[in-house]
Each structure stands twice: as C-alpha cells, then as structure tokens.
C-alpha cells in the first residue's frame, strides 16, 4: 500500500500482528514443547514453558509401544501413492482439456468438480460394504484407491489452471523453427508444466495426509495412517499428554513444512480459480 505510514504505526501493526500470530500458533508450539516433557511436567500447575528437563523419551516410547513408524509409513504410502496415481490419470486429461478445449470441456470440468461435492457420509455404507466383500477393508491399497478418487477432481482442476497459463504462442514459434510434436512436448511444454505439477503434488499430499473420514472408517490397525492412529489416543489412559504430543508432533511436522512452501497454491487449489 502506497499510503504513508509512520514508524509508530508500523510498530503498532507489528506488535498486534505478532501477538495474534503467536496466539493462533500457540497450540502447535505447546504441543511441540510438551512432547519433550515428562508426563508429570506435562500436566504441571503452574505450567512450565521452557524450564523443564528436555527429554526425547516420549518419542521412543511411542515408537516402542505402538509401532509408530508403521503408521507413519502408511500415511506416506497412502498420501504419496494416491497423489502419484492421481497425477498419472490427471495429467493427460488436464493437458488435453487445457490445450485442446472442445465444446464439452467446460461441462466435463464442472461435472468433475461436482463429484467432489458429494458428502462422504452419503456413500459410506456402500463403500464400506464393497470394501468388506472384496477384502479391501484395512488395506493400504483400498485407501490409496479411495484417496485417489476423492482427490482426482482437485488434481485435474489445479493442473488445468496451471496448464492454461502456459503461453501457446511459444509452440507456434517452435514449430516454425522445425520442432516436431515430440520435441515440442519434451523441450517446451514439459519444463513449463513442471512447476504446476509440483505444486499440485504438494497440495494433494497435504490433503491426503490429513484426510480423516475415510482413513478412520475404512481401517482398523494394520493399514491405519496417522489420522486414524492418533484417533486411538482419544480414550483416556491416565498420564499421556507428553506421549500424545510426541505422536502429534511427528504427525504434523512433515505437513507443516510442506504446507509453508505451498501456501500460495492453497488458494488456487481450494477455490478452483474462483478467487484470484
């Protein structure tokens, strides 16, 4: 904003914004801090902020007691697997709709989006029964299939909006210079499409990692990713805040990092181009 701002105003904005920012972030900070406390310190009154005996014991306990790494890997496999399969299906579709839009392209895009509006609970019963009958309940493969399908519309939409921004004129120039279709795709289109594909990948890993309806309802233990595994901490079992915090910190850390990198794509990916 070009308006003249006095240093005093700037300092006021800084203080207020940092205050509110830290307040909103506090539950996450508190979880991270608590994960390094003993269970007794975790519930100490008055609460301790930094002056406690830092320990990594909770992390080892969580791993030993419940094979945490197994669930972590389930999350990785389900989030990454569904995103990669989704991309493999979506890239050709988005590519052809962006570069060769036909009369029906808009209808197809809108219809694809409409499948995303279907409330999951509306189809819970049939999916559950189908999964039970074909033996997909509590399997990684079953969850990869469901995650691929529920995020496919978002993947296609995001890719479509990115591909649309690639200047097609550049292809004309390449063709004039005698480039073949193959060369066009490999040397011109692909390098320009990669950033969009990467952003789509990141956002969808985030969405699949945090999905908590299907992962909870379609798994028991073996294929349970972190969302479902953490839900099992909901039953009270005495002193457990520090362990809950350790399990939570490990579950959210990777996504916090990816999320901070892709905050710009978030708007595009979740509003389907309706806000610019």
């Amino acid at each position: 904003m070009a308006r003249a701002i006095t240093p005093r105003q700037k300092w006021t904005f800084t203080l207020v914004a940092w205050g509110i920012g830290l307040l909103i972030f506090f539950p996450i900070l508190w979880t991270i801090l608590t994960s390094f406390k003993t269970e007794a310190q975790a519930i100490a009154d008055p609460p301790v902020f930094f002056a406690f005996d830092w320990t990594t014991e909770n992390y080892t306990t969580v791993q030993e007691r419940s094979n945490y790494f197994h669930h972590f890997m389930n999350s990785v496999i389900i989030a990454l697997g569904s995103t990669l399969i989704g991309l493999a299906i979506a890239i050709p579709a988005a590519w052809s709709m962006a570069f060769q839009p036909a009369r029906r392209t808009k209808d197809i895009l809108m219809w694809m989006l409409s499948t995303k509006m279907l409330p999951p609970v509306g189809v819970l019963v049939p999916i559950y029964l189908i999964f039970r009958d074909v033996g997909l309940l509590d399997t990684r493969i079953g969850l990869v299939i469901v995650m691929t399908l529920i995020n496919l519309p978002i993947i296609i939409w995001m890719l479509f909006t990115y591909f649309r921004e690639i200047p097609v004129d550049i292809l004309e120039a390449a063709r004039m210079d005698g480039a073949t279709l193959r060369e066009e795709i490999i040397y011109i289109l692909t390098p320009m499409a990669v950033p969009g594909i990467a952003s789509t990948l990141l956002l969808n890993v985030i969405l699949a990692w945090n999905e908590a309806f299907w992962t909870i309802n379609l798994t028991a233990d073996d294929a349970a990713p972190l969302t479902a595994f953490i839900a099992s901490y909901s039953s009270p079992e005495g002193l457990f805040y520090a362990k809950l915090s350790a399990a939570s910190t490990m579950a959210i850390a990777p996504i916090l990092i990816i999320g901070w990198f892709s905050q710009k794509q978030l708007v595009r990916g979740l509003t389907f181009g309706a806000v610019k």
């Binding site: 904005f13 909103i24 979880t31 019963v125 945090n210 972190l226």
Partner: protein, 290 residues
C-alpha cells in the same frame, strides 16, 4: 487445428479420468439409494425385503434427527461467523506494513495443516480438560472454578476447535482478495476525507464480497461433513448433544449396522450438500472462460 486424429487422442487422454469418476459417483450413489429402500441390518441376517420409504420415515422421526439438524446448522453457522469475521480482520491486519510479515503469515496459517484428529485431541486434552488442561490452570490461577468445556458446552467447544482449523483458510483467501484491491481508489477516498471505517465499509467490503461468498460456500461443503473432530472429542455426546448429521448417519450405519437407515440418511445428506454445491458451482462456472 483440431484434426480428427487429435480429437480422438484428446478423448483417449480424458477417458480414464472420466470413467473412474463416473464409476466412483454412480456406483455408490446408486447403491445408497437402493439400500435406502430395503430393510437391511447387518445384525439381522436373512433376505432384505423392499420396504419403500420406511427407512426415510424412521430417519426423519428418529429422536436424534431434529437435534442433529440443529447441531449441524449451529456448527456450520458458528464456524462461518467466527472464521469470516475473524478472517477479514486478520487479513486486513496482515495487509498492513509491518516487520516480519512473512513469519506472521506462516504462524497464522499453520493450524490449517494440522490433521483434524491431532487438533481435536490437543484442544480436548491439553487445553479444555477440566483437571489438567491449560484453561483449567489459568482459571484456577485467576481464582475461578475450572470449567468442563466438553461436557458443559460440547457443541460450542467443537465450534471453537473447528474455527481454529478453518480461520487460516478464510484469512489466506481474503488476504489474496485484499492484495488485488486497487490502492489508488483507497488513496482517492482518503484524500476526499473518508474515514478508515468508511473506506473499509464502502470500498474494501464490496471488493471482498466475492471472496467472502467463495469462503462461505467452500467451507460449508466441508463443515457439513465434520466428523473426526466430533468422534475423538465427544463421540457425539453427552447423549446426542454434539451429534451432527454426518455423525448420526455414521452411528446408524457403522455402530448400529442399520444399512437401510444409514443409507436413507446418506441420501438426505447428499441432497443437503447439493443445495450448497449448486451455488458454488455457479460462481466457479462464471469465472471459468473457455
């Protein structure tokens, strides 16, 4: 330059996506509608006779139904009010010049990346727990009685937790909208003597109207399906005090194993979500020029 050949290629490139989504939509949808007219309970083996609209009748007259509708509305509206008002003010603040703007923005959007089960359990135990929670410590420190959030005001507590998760989304989108605001218009208004409130009300808010509508519609779609937060905090209770439609249908289907009843509820949920979706789709469609 669409030749016959390239058109066939285009069709080939789209069809896997179309076929998969078509199957994903039609098969479960068809089965939900089909199950909804059968007397079908997994605990009662035998054939599943056609019963017409009996399940719908049971669903709508279920003692928990009215409460669930009410809770769903309260949850959606409550979270929308908090996130839209809070998000607008936060976006306005983050749009001002300050030191460390990037870091503040990161702090503010972080909750959006926390998985629902983690945020619900962290709030439930470490903040709202009446014995060991931080709020209880705080209340005792100030000489008040500790307050048992999740048993006394379960729905309000869930509204607060979900608002914390969705505030970043609203803020981020409204901030994007603020940044596309023409600053010359604001300067002109300022020179004409418009107060800060007037500038906000007559210039910024109309500019934000579209973004706010999109936030409301998208959030409504997601908020209608809130599930994990309720499951891990209150399991819909005490009683059915925090049961929303999604949780009610889940309980009927997978806890009482009443496939027919759950499916009737599912059909109702689909219709409800579609009413919102129509408006959202219209807005998105208008912005999509092909």
């Amino acid at each position: 330059m669409a030749t016959q050949h390239s058109r066939a290629a285009a069709r080939l490139m789209i069809s896997p996506a179309v076929i998969l989504l078509l199957a994903w939509m039609l098969i479960p949808l068809g089965l939900t509608i089909y199950f909804s007219v059968l007397r079908y309970n997994l605990l009662m083996p035998g054939d599943n006779p056609f019963v017409g609209l009996e399940n719908y009748e049971f669903f709508f007259t279920d003692p928990a139904f009215t409460g669930a509708v009410w809770n769903t509305v309260m949850l959606v509206v409550g979270v929308l009010i908090i996130t839209v008002v809070g998000g607008t003010m936060l976006a306005l603040l983050l749009n001002q010049p300050m030191f460390g703007q990037g870091i503040v923005r990161i702090l503010v959007i972080a909750p959006f990346f926390v998985m629902p089960t983690v945020s619900a359990l962290v709030w439930k135990n470490m903040f709202m727990n009446p014995v060991n929670g931080l709020f209880a410590h705080l209340a005792k420190g100030l000489g008040f009685e500790a307050f048992d959030f999740l048993s006394t005001v379960p729905l309000l507590s869930i509204i607060l937790i979900v608002s914390w998760q969705w505030l970043p989304f609203a803020t981020l989108i409204l901030l994007t909208a603020f940044q596309s605001l023409d600053s010359e218009q604001l300067e002109a208004a300022e020179m004409d003597g418009a107060t800060g409130v007037a500038r906000f009300w007559y210039i910024m808010l109309p500019h934000l109207a579209r973004a706010i509508t999109v936030v409301i519609l998208i959030q409504t779609i997601f908020l209608l399906s809130i599930f994990a937060e309720i499951l891990v905090t209150t399991s819909g209770g005490p009683g059915t005090a925090s049961t929303n439609l999604t949780y009610l249908i889940y309980a009927q289907s997978l806890l009482q194993f009443d496939v027919g009843l759950g499916s009737a509820g599912g059909v109702f949920a689909i219709i409800l979500a579609n009413i919102v979706a129509i408006f959202l789709m219209r807005m998105i469609g208008k912005n999509l020029d092909l």
